[in-house]
Symmetry: D3
Subunit: 274 residues, 6 copies
């Protein structure tokens, strides 16, 4: 339920970027009346996150696998039928979106799958998104089964070390934030040590972000904070480390790589003339 | 020399996306008059590709390492001084750009470094760019020492298998393209086999893209095309395979991963209050 | 610390709206070289909320009273010096912004002033803002001393009667929301009766919005919810009723009128030729 | 007959403003397949000015009362049917537009109704509109039965005191304006006294704006100007004073409050699940 | 005094259109540090209408001949100094604007010069402008010494034959227009014959547009309308016919060709390296 | 196959430019329910290049003559049926586009027709396009039977005299360009003399632009370059000189006037009420 207009702005920009004055090759080599049908094929395992929105008013897209489904190599994700020139002109932009979104959803799914059964931990994204694509990338994160963190700087309060330094201490920073923040926002504080955790808990922070804590420290933190605050582990989390982090008992594990380093999914478009 | 307005459009969108109504935390925890100074630090080896453009009219950015320089872990890339609230509000968006661009430049540099001495091959990007960021990503590719392919569908002709099928054969497709294309554009044709290469050469294609050719096939192709056309190898090229591909003697090796799968570079911003 | 670009978008639109092809009258009646100086005068009591941003690169604005100061009739808010044609062309747009923002800040201040000493209640705005002006209006609300509610539908969860009906009950709605919402968002539920309040508290809602409750009901609600949830009173709150509502002990009183029905402040621009 | 694109720009901006990344609550609490039907109900007397434009391609709006009709409390203005998530996500933006436009139309109607039978006076708006919403607000003014003044600074000439001062007198200002203005524009001059009125009439102004004239002065002005110019009364006109002003015989009464201080109309949306 | 933002929108679009990803040639052939100086030279007689606005923050433009001055062949209009790459990248866009605007100003000047001494006729443009460039083109018309007609459909009323047919006659159309139009707008009616002129005058039209009248008819029309309405001659007016039309005594001669068929002025940019 | 969004951006801008607040005249003189039918009539010989895109969702356009067809005086190009107010409001913008595009296509056709049978020369446009309209104008050029030159500065390399001076000679400029340009771009060099031609050919330029060469020089150039480079003649080419230039044997003749000086085609819209 992203605003259509926002999606269109992105897609229109991408289309204009790719064909400022039309598609030379298709217009030169293909008669205007030729129709075609194309299928998006998954070459390796992936989660389908994003499909054609609108490429041409005369084309018709049929979804074959719902968003969030795990696709096997060779599965057809969606097919699109219409004017051959239009399909070829739009192909690259459509795939650029689909591969990017699917790449993120696939990586999110891998992190979620790495959480051991019985763990309370959820995987969350961060604000480390590709400029201009945040809404889409957060959607892909959800499609992959993970959670979203706060949407933006206006949505909620997260006090970091620099805020603490500028405010004159954890207690003062939390107090200032609580006295002005929207009541819908929990107050989150980032801490670098168990000592800082204690101070944050004493100042009644709602959430504490444990920045780059060792596993042993995380375990101590969980014991100390029990019932007093939501605990978020963050900092260089990878598929190799996420399972052990989850076992410490933290509530949230946030992963910047979900959106800033997901490799593109391998999706190809096979076309046949009608 | 990208148009300022284009950059601003991207940056403005990214800023609005991240703070639709301001930065709650900084405004609540930091006095308006506090000044600060921040430094961007490279944690591991990378090529600096992109720096702050404009984040606030009152901040001042100083570049410490020129674009394209190889940075060692701990090197300071640039520093920025100004209002503490503004630095913290802009931090994430600035880093999102910097990490994305540097990631691409770093990966491009790795591919270029993998070309053996004496090889004629150059590394080129593709149109597999992140929607909306093409100009920036192509700039990062150049900063990393690689080449750009055609900018968009309007810039030059590249005839693919589907165009050939729709046009009724390689010869017919090349003839149609040549009869209407801007004379500044070479005519490039994608082929799937050595037989198709022969037909493309016979029809006097200017460039032939060898799609997913085995190394042995590439060597044959190079011998046959000698002096008759520019040869471009493409399809699943990786850092593991690029050196051997270059040794076959092809002229251009195009790599989609440069722009669609480069992991973000690790850049952090260390802030100290003034 | 609103993004400059967002402000410029609004202002540019407003300027284009007001002079699609220039200012006929000023260009026809005033020589291009004439300079002038204008002062914004408060005719009745108001809070200064907003001043000229940029109207012309050659004009210079001097603020005389800081934002948030209570101005008396006749006080000069700011002066602006520059080309006479430019001042007259920009006058109306500048005043339209200033009068609108000051009107909201003034009304917010009046509501805040109506909270009796010792009350815990804070005044908050709502999402009932003028389309396109939300960031500015929320800024004006803060300038007037009141709080902002959640910024938008993506920022935080607020479950209303229709969500409850569609989800199949208060408990189910809260459970679904908690299982997917960003952990930075408190879960708020709107209730229509004391019975619904009980169910919301039992389901551990973080905030309960008491919709159109009578004063007596509010008092009961405060006693029952003590320490279990944040209570927000909403619905037709006016300057006549807000003091009594605050006395009931609710935590937040949200007032749509702050942004949808604030009359424009009376600000005039007195100009003298230089 | 406002350009669709202009309306869409406004609405799209308003929607993006309200849900930068979707509607958390509806998506979390309501199944995607749930359908619903909503009705906009008038709680007190108002003129319906504005209805849903487009909120979702799958929703269907039915107008129950035509624009300009006087609605009684409880009347249904329009109903909308469609996906429950979409209706709830769009509700606030739709109502923000509807309440703002209806508020203006209702106030315009009140001013028009206050003109005594037999009076020649018409009510007109001013350029004191909400930035960005001028076209919509002027439309609401017409729906309410009042007239529009000049649309913008490019449309027509209105010489104010500052223009007169800069030009060197009323006569000189009128002469300069007449010698360059589009012939489709009447020449209007603002005057502060009966003496200035004489000079404006002598210089053959087409329209004279009587700024903040007392009732007695207005009567004198009407007698003197009879047949020589159109007379417009302006300055602090209220529902209390408009009837007497109309009785003086002026042709036009312009009222800034129509657009800058109209309280929002009270419109609610009642939703039932299908 | 066009809004800067409007100009920037145009220029930014033009620059993005011309270098979506930078200027290949300049970046490849010129070192980044090279400085240069360029002069705009008039090769034949023209009126200078438009000069560089902003092309690069580091370039400096000096105007040598003021707007509206008649330039002789070889005169230098303006010079620009700065980075050589930037000057060459911006050259074509700057000249495209300058040549277009100067072409219009030059043609407008030619029409104005063709009005015989003593004639009351003024030359006016029409709404036949290049889409998107109306404000600039109308400015060029004024620079050339001619007048602007109404700016747009919202500015003023012009009743054409189709409006008359749909309204049910000239009298009815004028009456409807007068009853709703802003009082700042004169009521103009287009007529096809002397009979229709009579009806328009009887209905007290303020302006009558005589569409494609013969010279003899124009003379009759002028005699009949004397003092009763402003007369505008329109329809296929050329430099060959305009003098005779002016001699008939009409007040306004509107010429679509001013903006839709003015050939580009011949302006070149001579560059020397610094 | 221009991106719909780009066309809409242009058209929307043009519509907003022409009716910022609706069409006064049509709304005042015509009942909302009146339907009409309009036909676009060619008054003199022209090539139909452009037709209504979208003006109103309720109107229906029927093309009578395909793009590129030669129309005789009086031929109907297209008809449009719908709401009378909408047709009249959109008329001018639609015609402004149609007349501009048709004017260019007609002029392009005239140049193409002037090429003698048997000549190899093709007519090409340049980057001297109207700011913001390049994609449309290049489309019109193709409709008229001519070719497009490079689309923009990013598409391909064209080395001019200033690049040569800054690079330090033709050879150095070509070498630098070849070492960095996309392999899809031919390297074009502009030369001012036969000597420079020799140097460009020796440096293996792919295309040589002969700038303002005399006919005799062109003939020499063609003999010398035979088979070594594509030759483009440019500079002040007119309908009077193009035939002789074509006879010299050059490959391409580029004509700036195609897009910067084509007079508008004469297209009118005849409307009848339904």
């Amino acid at each position: 339920m992203l605003p259509i207009a926002e999606l269109d702005t992105l897609l229109d920009r991408a289309l204009a970027e790719d064909m400022p004055g039309g598609d030379l090759t298709s217009e030169l080599t293909i008669d205007a009346a030729v129709l075609a049908r194309a299928s998006a094929v998954a070459r390796k395992n992936l989660v389908v996150a994003r499909v054609f929105e609108r490429v041409d008013a005369t084309t018709r897209v049929t979804t074959k696998l719902a968003d969030g489904t795990r696709a096997a190599k060779g599965d057809v994700l969606w097919t699109v039928e219409g004017n051959a020139r239009a399909l070829l002109a739009a192909e690259r932009v459509a795939l650029n979106f689909a591969q990017h979104m699917s790449g993120i959803a696939t990586l999110a799914r891998a992190f979620v799958d790495a959480i051991p059964a019985g763990s309370r931990a959820v995987i969350a994204d961060t604000r480390k998104t590709t400029p201009g694509l945040r809404a889409l990338e957060r959607h892909a994160v959800r499609v992959g089964g993970a959670r979203n963190h706060r949407n933006d700087l206006t949505s909620a309060v997260l006090i970091k070390d620099n805020h603490i330094a500028a405010a004159g201490g954890i207690e003062r920073a939390i107090e200032r934030a609580r006295s002005g923040a929207p009541h819908t926002s929990r107050i989150e504080v980032e801490v670098q040590s168990l000592d800082e955790l204690e101070r944050a808990l004493a100042a009644r922070a709602d959430i504490v972000l444990l920045d780059n804590f060792e596993l042993a420290e995380l375990e101590v933190a969980v014991r100390r904070a029990k019932g007093r605050a939501i605990l978020e582990a963050s900092g260089g989390v990878s598929l190799e480390t996420v399972t052990e982090i989850a076992k410490t008992g933290v509530d949230v594990i946030s992963v910047g790589a979900l959106t800033h380093s997901a490799p593109a999914a391998d999706i190809a478009l096979d076309l046949e003339l009608a």
